[in-house]
Symmetry: C2
Subunit: 194 residues, 2 copies
């Protein structure tokens, strides 16, 4: 089923996205399935896969997250585990430093603070996809907590720099922030935390 | 001027708080003065001092922050600087672990995310009072950035544990969190960050 230019494709795509938003809202990230989204949109599940890839990618598209998890996550977790902290901080900052993606990241963050349901969906997605991938890379019994600790520093960095805009942090260069944060993130990943 | 029980004291107190909220909203934390608040409430500045203490304390009362900065901050910054990280994490967690104070902290955090003006006021207050006190204790040229780094980890901890409620972080014991976070906070305060 090629992604042709024929009329109707973009309508169908939009219908799938609408169905996905409904399903994620009704069933949560874990409960929603590609099959249920397809049924709701009146299309074949293969078409949903074709348009959006994995459930994680469909979620990202439905939430208008400015990332494609299937591409981003492997590029972060692959490579030397001793530099995982640095790769994570760099990737996170690059999402926030670009004005266009920053707007979407801000919207997602604000939505999670305002709406319990949005917080729940974001939590499930992060737990299943992002923290899960990091935890798998670490292969340690406390990997789940370690991934959470990293997440807590990243969301705090976003809050301080892009929402509360406290100085001098808000005006610091991305490279200065990598130097300041990467060792802390690396310790959360592979250091002594108990 | 003793804090008597006579009729009218609580009305006056409320009028001062209302005037303070107006002044902080209009002039920001730095621009607002005890004198201006007193003039707006139609009372003597000495009465404002008498009821609320310092400008920081008046701000905390007006924002319904569940802390008294004049008491809390000295208790954190005094003592061995090598254990400052641990004292900060413990004090922050104790504010959030108590259901009543947690509700107020959550309200302040949500307000800062929703309203630019609230974020600005909170930023000025934190910069002037809390980060300022920590920076003074550190007495280092990059103390401002160090205090910001600490703040970013604390707000991220609050977001992850109490707003997004990601597991296992949300269910971890306060002591486990002190063990996990205090060394990171201590490094931000006194370690190599550049």
């Amino acid at each position: 089923m090629p992604a042709g230019r024929r009329k109707g494709n973009s309508d169908t795509r939009q219908e799938v996205l609408d169905a996905a938003r409904d399903c994620f809202a009704a069933s949560g990230y874990d409960g929603a399935t590609i099959r249920a989204v397809a049924a709701k949109a009146g299309v074949d599940p293969a078409l949903v896969h074709h348009f959006f890839g994995s459930k994680a990618d469909l979620f990202a598209a439905a939430m208008e997250l400015p990332v494609n998890p299937s591409e981003l996550i492997p590029s972060i977790v692959s490579g030397d585990v001793d530099e995982l902290g640095q790769r994570i901080v760099r990737a996170f900052l690059s999402l926030w430093e670009e004005p266009k993606t920053r707007r979407r990241m801000l919207a997602v963050l604000k939505s999670a603070v305002r709406h319990e349901a949005a917080a729940t969906m974001l939590r499930m997605f992060l737990t299943r996809e992002l923290f899960g991938a990091v935890a798998k890379t670490l292969d340690a019994p406390d990997a789940g907590l370690r991934a959470n600790l990293v997440g807590s520093q990243l969301v705090g960095l976003a809050m301080a720099r892009y929402v509360i805009k406290v100085q001098p942090l808000a005006g610091a260069s991305p490279e200065a922030l990598v130097a300041a944060y990467a060792p802390a993130v690396q310790r959360y990943l592979t250091g002594k935390i108990a």
